[in-house]
């Protein structure tokens, strides 16, 4: 290698460093090394639940709105797990599936008046406050997007799963990547706005 070539090489790499600095001073899609093809997919572990709840039957085949069961999502920071009497409300009346083992388990809990110890699948760190209400109000009610898209953006296509499994990284970079997008303010305008960029909006 000649001196000249070495010099060229150095200049070239230097230019590349500068280039990356100018264009984008951060790396998208998870910490370096943990990125997948589309950026943010990060499959969580399989979580064993007390009852293997078939989301695919309820939300998929029957097309029940997510918020029919996760009813707190539109009025509270947490979406909450449906209360037991909500399950019973329907299943008392559905004779056809009463003998299935999962439903039997459900009835056992109901008889004992014991809440089902569901495990958290999407558990953010304790210093983060994520508000379901604001996101649902903004995208489901105001922007009128389909519920499976609104919920699915973070939770994945739960309608195709049995028990839910985390499919997104839920990392800060991921949150920010969406907050930073220009979202339409509502269906009828072209005005856009970003999500909040203030630390204290999400960190407590």
């Amino acid at each position: 290698m000649t001196v000249r070539m070495k010099i060229m090489l150095v200049w070239l790499s230097l230019l590349m460093i500068c280039g990356s600095a100018i264009a984008e001073p951060f790396v998208q899609g998870g910490a370096i090394g943990s990125q997948t093809d589309d950026g943010f997919n990060a499959l969580g572990p399989v979580v064993e639940q007390p009852i293997e709840f078939p989301h695919n039957t309820h939300a998929g085949q029957m097309g029940i709105n997510c918020m029919y069961c996760h009813t707190y999502a539109r009025r509270s920071a947490v979406s909450g797990i449906p209360r037991l009497d909500k399950c019973m409300g329907c299943h008392k009346l559905i004779e056809s599936v009463k003998d299935k083992p999962r439903i039997k388990k459900l009835f056992e809990y109901w008889e004992k008046k014991q809440a089902i110890p569901w495990k958290k699948v999407h558990d953010l760190p304790d210093f983060v406050r994520f508000n379901h209400e604001r996101h649902i109000q903004r995208f489901y009610f105001r922007e009128d997007r389909p519920v499976r898209e609104v919920c699915g953006y973070c939770h994945g296509d739960v309608a195709s799963m049995t028990t839910a499994r985390r499919v997104k990284a839920l990392s800060m970079g991921w949150c920010v990547s969406c907050h930073q997008k220009d979202h339409l303010e509502n269906v009828s305008t072209t005005k856009t706005s970003n999500g909040p960029n203030d630390c204290w909006q999400c960190h407590k």
Partner: protein
């Protein structure tokens, strides 16, 4: 063209080595150029080097490049990082404040200057590299060495010239 061969002569002091160079310059041998003469010495001796002719040093240009690119990159990096989506207002100061950025730009200026200078130096040294074929540990102690590259045919003649100036030792490739 034949593969060139080397010879190394060790001298006791700079004057003798200087005389040898002068003699080498005076003769004209086929397959030998003054550019192929290399001095190896325990300390720097500019006068001796000058006798070998103009051998340019490029390090300054690297330094120049470094001190130009460094601050620019630094400033843009800092300012655009301050202006990213999560920009934060702090202490009533502008989001992109000038004085702090100047401080950092200054540091980047020096850092990249230093890095590029050292880089240029190593390139100029052609280091890290393999050792040249002939070396004697004495050149790092107190002897001055002349390493000459030439056609194997003219080596004896060169050795002859060198021998005139009381070298302590003349090493050739074949003798190794």
């Amino acid at each position: 063209m034949m593969k060139k061969s080397h010879t190394l002569a060790l001298f006791n002091d700079f004057e003798e080595a200087g005389q040898a160079i002068r003699d080498l310059k005076a003769v004209s041998l086929p397959g030998f150029r003054m550019e192929d003469v290399v001095i190896k010495s325990p300390i720097e001796h500019p006068e001796l080097s000058e006798m070998l002719g103009d051998r340019p040093v490029y390090v300054q240009w690297f330094t120049l490049g470094g001190v130009l690119v460094g601050p620019l990159t630094g400033l843009i990096l800092v300012a655009s990082a301050q202006a990213n989506f999560l920009l934060q207002i702090r202490g009533g100061r502008p989001v992109v404040p000038v004085p702090p950025d100047m401080v950092l730009t200054y540091e980047f200026f020096i850092l990249s200057g230093v890095l590029m200078t050292v880089l240029g130096c190593f390139i100029g040294w052609k280091l890290p590299g393999r050792r040249s074929p002939l070396y004697n540990a004495k050149v790092s102690e107190d002897k001055i060495g002349l390493l000459i590259k030439a056609d194997p045919l003219v080596i004896p003649k060169i050795n002859e010239i060198l021998a005139r100036h009381k070298p302590i030792e003349i090493m050739g490739e074949d003798r190794r």
